[in-house]
Amino acid sequence: MFDSNFFTAAAENVKEMSIGDAAITAVFGYCVVFCGLIFLMIVLYCTGAYFKSKNEKESAVAEAAKKIAPEAAPEAEKELPLAPGSAGHVKLFDVPDKEAAMIMAIVADKMQKPLNELHFISIKEVK
């Protein structure tokens, strides 16, 4: 019923292996994958540390500039009165109002809790 000859004698360049060789190749291969990705991880940690320190420096400079010239808080940023039943204000960072409303609705739905029992502090787009 089955025509398996083709598989066993398929390609000319097939490499036959003993079970011992296969075990060594498997362990060695797994180690190569680990070593490769560990090395990549180290590289990523190094670049990450560089960019983190760079960002910290930039934000420190910005902070210092802010302290030198403190600006008056605009009228619009003052605390607005809360709507009845509201759980507080939510700060949005690079997120449009509509998307924020959608995210809050999804979270409430997934947690199976009424929206007015949840307190969202901020919603930030992770770039």
Partner: protein, 406 residues
């Protein structure tokens, strides 16, 4: 005109007649299998973008290619590809012979044989993937590496079951849960197994939501699954631009055989992130990806001609593929548990199972299981790190196997 003779000739040249002669019944079985695959793709939505094409390719080849019948009108000719692989034959490695004598699917299959389609698919995957979660949490790479355990265990198992080294390597890579990588490696090392391996890889990728959760619940405690992970740091645009360049340089220098896959993956990602090639990124993500998917699906399906596909080896490949998937999931979960212990309970081990590179299916499964244990748990972005690390990990595993067996 002899009407009876003409009718006899018509009957003998028809596929219906071929079903009745030597081995024709196998084509009937393959036609049934292709209908089952079409059902799974269309009705059950199992990786439909590829499975529908593969299933229809399987249908076409088994309607037009009969071992004992006239193969001149066939869409795909196994014998031409046997000659292509036979060093003693005059058509050895001759694409010209394929172009001259091949059918439609033979010509489309050249893209698979030359490794073009898998690489272009990787370009699209790169353009669609946000590596931010991985860059912000490089530890994820360990989970991506751990989840390649199934690749090497299935490779070992395949050798024990009597497959050659080349064939075992191609079977093992099913555990990487990465269709294009599996196709790329198999066309290089064991092209005769492409049909069953591609079908096993894509079927199991579609079945991830069924294969992984029982293992995840078996290997983790409720307390571990409930862990809420802290938000990772924000990744800058510059980091995202540098990342594909660093990975391409590092991985290709380490394993030059990964250059087509990793090079295309990272080029696609660079187009996405650099911000000045939006048109190219859009084309690669959508138009090119769709075109290549059409060609890849139908030409892979064409390799499932009955006399090759219906064998004991196919059953072994299906079983080994499932074993590979299961052990890849287990490998990721075990390292996830180690990280949970070492981090003092800050890492949810469920993200380890996402180290198999089926993007984003495996990450979604981690998210769903995490949320079942704790409804306020949001693991998706944390699981995306190991998930994309798995793509790089499976490419490295394939590169290693290619370097050893080519």
């Amino acid at each position: 005109m002899d009407i009876l003779e003409t009718l006899k000739t018509l009957w003998e040249s028809s596929g219906f007649h071929s079903f009745l002669i030597d081995g024709g019944w196998k084509n009937l079985i393959m036609i049934l299998i292709s209908c089952v695959l079409l059902y799974l793709g269309i009705k059950k939505k199992f990786e439909p973008l590829l499975l529908v094409g593969i299933a229809f390719g399987c249908l076409l080849v088994n309607l037009s290619y009969f071992t004992a019948g006239d193969t001149s009108d066939a869409l795909y000719h196994m014998n031409l590809w046997d000659n292509f692989l036979d060093p003693t034959h005059e058509d050895y490695h001759s694409y010209g012979a394929i172009m001259a004598h091949g059918g439609l699917l033979d010509i489309l299959y050249i893209g698979v044989k030359a490794g073009i389609y898998p690489s272009l698919i990787f370009m699209g995957v790169g353009a669609m993937t946000d590596f931010g979660p991985l860059i912000s949490n490089p530890k994820s790479l360990l989970l991506g590496a751990a989840a390649q355990m199934g690749v090497f265990l299935a490779f070992f198992g395949a050798v024990c079951l009597g497959f050659s080294g080349n064939q075992a390597a191609s079977i093992g890579i099913i555990g990487g849960a990465d269709g294009p990588t599996a196709i790329f490696l198999t066309t290089k090392l064991a092209p005769e197994l492409l049909g069953p391996i591609a079908i096993a890889a894509y079927s199991y990728m579609a079945l991830i939501p069924m294969i992984q959760p029982p293992l995840m619940r078996l290997l983790t405690t409720k307390k571990e699954r409930e862990v809420k992970m802290e938000q990772t740091r924000v990744v800058t645009k510059t980091e995202k631009i540098i990342f594909p360049i660093i990975v391409a340089m590092f991985v290709i220098l380490l394993l030059p055989s990964t250059a087509p896959l990793v090079g295309c993956l990272m080029l696609g990602n660079l187009w996405r992130e650099c911000g000045v090639t939006e048109r190219l990124s859009d084309t690669v993500q959508n138009a090119l990806m769709n075109i290549v998917t059409v060609f890849l699906g139908i030409s892979v399906g064409a390799t499932t001609a009955a006399d090759r596909f219906l064998s004991l080896e196919t059953i072994k490949i299906i079983v080994l593929g499932l074993t590979a998937f299961a052990f890849s999931t287990i490998g990721g979960l075990l390292v996830g548990k180690i990280m949970y212990k070492l981090s003092g309970g800050k890492i949810n081990p469920l993200i380890g199972s996402a180290g198999v590179s089926a993007v984003p299916m495996a990450a979604r499964v981690s998210q769903m299981e995490g949320q079942k244990a704790n409804p306020s748990n949001f693991l998706l972005m944390h699981a995306m790190g190991p998930n994309v690390a798995g793509v790089i990990g499976s490419a490295i595993a394939a590169g290693f196997l290619l370097a050893v067996f080519k």
